[in-house]
């Protein structure tokens, strides 16, 4: 089930989900429904499956993702999404930024409690 939107979570998602898409595509090319369902299965990542498609389109227009139609094993033709070289570079930068960001947030959140609290 897709998580209902929460204001704080919505802000956190912004700017992060696209790199989760790139990370998924870094492991394998995927068609739309497969990709969307995989993302939606991860708790809190997307508000609804349909909102992933505009994101995929933006990634394609930005040259980070490429698409092509494939037909395998007599199934219907499906549009597959694949990460590009630019997409891999962007993902590598994000991975480094994310580690720094996450560690910084963790340090703040794990700070000592206020005396007497």
């Amino acid at each position: 089930m897709v998580a209902p939107p929460r204001p704080g979570l919505t802000e956190l998602r912004r700017g992060v989900v696209e790199f989760c898409v790139l990370a998924l595509l870094d492991t394998a090319d995927r068609y739309g429904l497969e990709l969307v369902r995989t993302l939606a299965a991860m708790d809190g990542l997307v508000t609804s499956e349909g909102t992933v498609y505009p994101l995929l389109n933006r990634l394609r227009e930005g040259g980070l993702v490429a698409t092509d139609w494939r037909q395998t094993d007599g199934t219907r033709p499906r549009k597959y999404y694949a990460i590009t070289a630019d997409g891999r570079s962007a993902l590598a930068r994000f991975r480094a930024d994310w580690v720094r960001f996450r560690e910084g947030v963790d340090r703040v959140l794990a700070g000592p409690a206020r005396p007497g609290a």
């Binding site: 498609y53 995929l56 389109n57 933006r58």
Partner: protein
């Protein structure tokens, strides 16, 4: 144009709702979005799917409005005051009264630049409204000339005969109503779009 996908009737209704909601999107994000959702529905809500499966698939997909909102181009999702659009409406309607023709032309260009109106809205704004209320004003200037053509004559031994060589009064009134009414209707439509954000 791609053929319609084979989907469950409930999914077909969703497709229509999505197309209605997506009319406000520019063509570039709209077309691939509709294609992608069609492919999604074909897989997740095909004609052989049960009603429960289809309802679940549609619920997971989200509302057409939410999908369209996510597809809005960057920079237009959090929209500020529609300054450009208000200026466009003022110039379209009254621009020709201030600076004949040029005022309306600037308004028409602003209409084309707006990202808040659909192509149909833009066409209506420009084609139904050529000259705006300035056209009515010009028509009003021409109207007295029409009536001045009214004259009477009387030949010896015959009754007085009067007539007008111009268009009938009913036509003049009808044209005035159209020239006033059409811009007003378009004004209401375009302004109404701005209220929707």
């Amino acid at each position: 144009m791609t053929p319609s996908p084979r989907v469950h009737p409930l999914a077909e209704r969703f497709r229509r709702q999505l197309r209605t909601a997506a009319r406000e999107l520019p063509a570039r994000p709209r077309r691939p979005l509709l294609e992608a959702i069609d492919a999604h529905l074909e897989e997740a809500a095909g004609p052989d799917a049960t009603e429960l499966e289809v309802r679940t698939a549609l619920e997971r997909l989200g509302s057409p409005e939410a999908i369209v909102a996510a597809a809005q181009p960057e920079g237009t999702r959090l929209r500020g005051a529609p300054v450009l659009e208000v200026a466009a409406l003022l110039l379209l309607s009254l621009g020709s009264l201030v600076v004949p023709v040029l005022g309306w032309l600037v308004g028409a260009v602003l209409v084309l630049l707006s990202t808040r109106w659909t192509r149909v809205d833009k066409l209506l704004g420009i084609l139904v409204w050529p000259g705006g209320f300035g056209a009515l004003w010009l028509f009003g200037l021409a109207a007295p000339g029409v009536h001045s053509a009214f004259s009477c004559s009387q030949l010896a031994g015959q009754p007085l005969r009067c007539g007008s060589s111009g268009p009938p009064l009913a036509l003049v009134v009808l044209l005035s109503v159209v020239l006033l009414g059409a811009p007003l209707l378009v004004l209401v439509r375009l302004a109404g779009r701005l209220r929707g954000g």
